[in-house]
Symmetry: C2
């Protein structure tokens, strides 16, 4: 028996599960994507059921993505929270230093910052009042929040990662830290597509995700930011990830899902 990895996530959208999928895909690691095999989301609903108290090893998770890792001895660990899953699998998949090494904290910090600004805040542009309510019921506030996001928050975060890429700690080449591709680069890559694509396709989300995700969600704003020339390294990183052989082949495969009504949504009225 060898290690098995099961990703428990909603079916039908890339969402926060995509950050985890990219790590498995880039490293060529086998994993089961339960969203693809369970279109009615039974594995998610079982975990998030209000009667679930977890087991002796793992408390219940609040929300997906959730990873179940079963090792060669058959013992399982269930962990949740996107950055936490990436911390867990990063070193195992050769995409981060071992937990406890200085670099592991640096990469975890970069992952958290990319998720804050280019995933969580992107989500909140279309749900600024209540996650549980429809977009149409908060559309007017969403316009205000999206304007602030386009004009202030998105440039702030892109400018931040541009600085990280220019700093000495990033090392040589296109990557964020130490000259090697890590999970942090995959997160920054994924955050781009939906933001850009947001701007491209009216009410349809198609692109790649944090940078990729944002290209999907805010195509006009992202095109303007790219054209400004102020974030050259960030956009170069995106292209460097996109052309990795395994990533390229994944993006062209059926395993890559289209954006739909997830975190990264393209509402033209929010793209300014």
């Amino acid at each position: 028996m060898s290690d098995t990895y099961e990703l428990i996530y909603w079916p039908g959208l890339p969402g926060r599960g995509e950050f985890v999928r990219l790590a498995f895909e880039e490293s060529g690691t086998a994993y089961a994507d339960l969203g693809l095999t369970h279109p009615r989301a039974e594995p998610v609903l079982e975990q998030t059921d209000s009667k679930n108290l977890g087991d002796a090893t793992s408390p219940p998770p609040l929300a997906p993505p959730i990873l179940r890792h079963t090792d060669a001895n058959g013992s399982s660990l269930l962990i949740s929270q996107t950055s936490n899953i990436l911390l867990y699998i990063g070193a195992r998949l050769g995409l981060a230093p071992s937990p406890g090494e200085p670099g592991s904290f640096i990469i975890n910090g970069l992952v958290l910052t990319a998720l804050d600004g280019l995933c969580n805040e992107t989500h909140d542009t279309h749900h600024p009042v209540a996650t549980g309510k429809y977009y149409d019921d908060q559309k007017e506030v969403a316009k205000l929040r999206a304007q602030d996001y386009r004009e202030n928050r998105l440039p702030k975060f892109l400018g931040y990662f541009e600085r990280v890429l220019k700093g000495d700690a990033s090392g040589d080449g296109p990557w964020l830290y130490g000259g090697n591709l890590t999970v942090a680069d995959l997160v920054l890559f994924q955050a781009r597509g939906p933001i850009c694509a947001w701007f491209h396709f009216a009410y349809r989300l198609t692109y790649i995700q944090c940078i990729d995700g944002n290209k999907h969600a805010f195509p006009k704003a992202m095109a303007r930011l790219e054209k400004s020339g102020e974030y050259k390294s960030v956009f170069a990183l995106w292209r460097a990830v996109q052309t990795r052989p395994r990533i390229k082949s994944y993006l062209e495969s059926d395993r890559r899902q289209s954006y739909g009504d997830g975190i990264y949504r393209h509402y033209p009225e929010l793209d300014g």
Copy 2:
């Protein structure tokens, strides 16, 4: 020369720095709180300056809290993001298993979930449109968002932690995981005060912080939730932290700052 820990955070408010302070205080570890010694925030501004590119080891941080740890050999590591700092110091201070151990991921997941629901979302109740704008300019939207927070999000997160505390993985006693006090318990404790206190003192914030913070921010809503009896274990955890000898003495000291205009604000109109 021995290890030194410097907390770089805004002066004049507990904020996200408080989660870090509580770990140092509970473990009786010496640390320099640069917010107290630099009332004009020079250490924060130096780190977040748009010209700062970091150094060979650490990229620039986006925002505080930031921890600088200098070891006995004089080499320094600078890390940011609240949960990341707690992951870094948790095992060093005896408040978490070593990074890489299964329990370290469980605790990191609990910390992230408490910060999501009881710190970040609490903050967004008073700044639902734009972090960079005044509260008064987004007050009407804040009322809607706070209502959703009180009625849906806050009970959801308290209910979640109640389940965690009832589950087998929490072990015996009042703590979230494995029968021992960890950084996750300190985060959950801190998140309570401001939310409750929000409800207590008109436009003044005074209480403790995630649970403590929420007691400050939403005193009426929190009192109602406590009275419901549905979250007994969560409130018992809060009392168990509050009466730890070192925490008690810290809360009564000058080092504990009052809430002011930070994450946890008490606006009576947001308390329903």
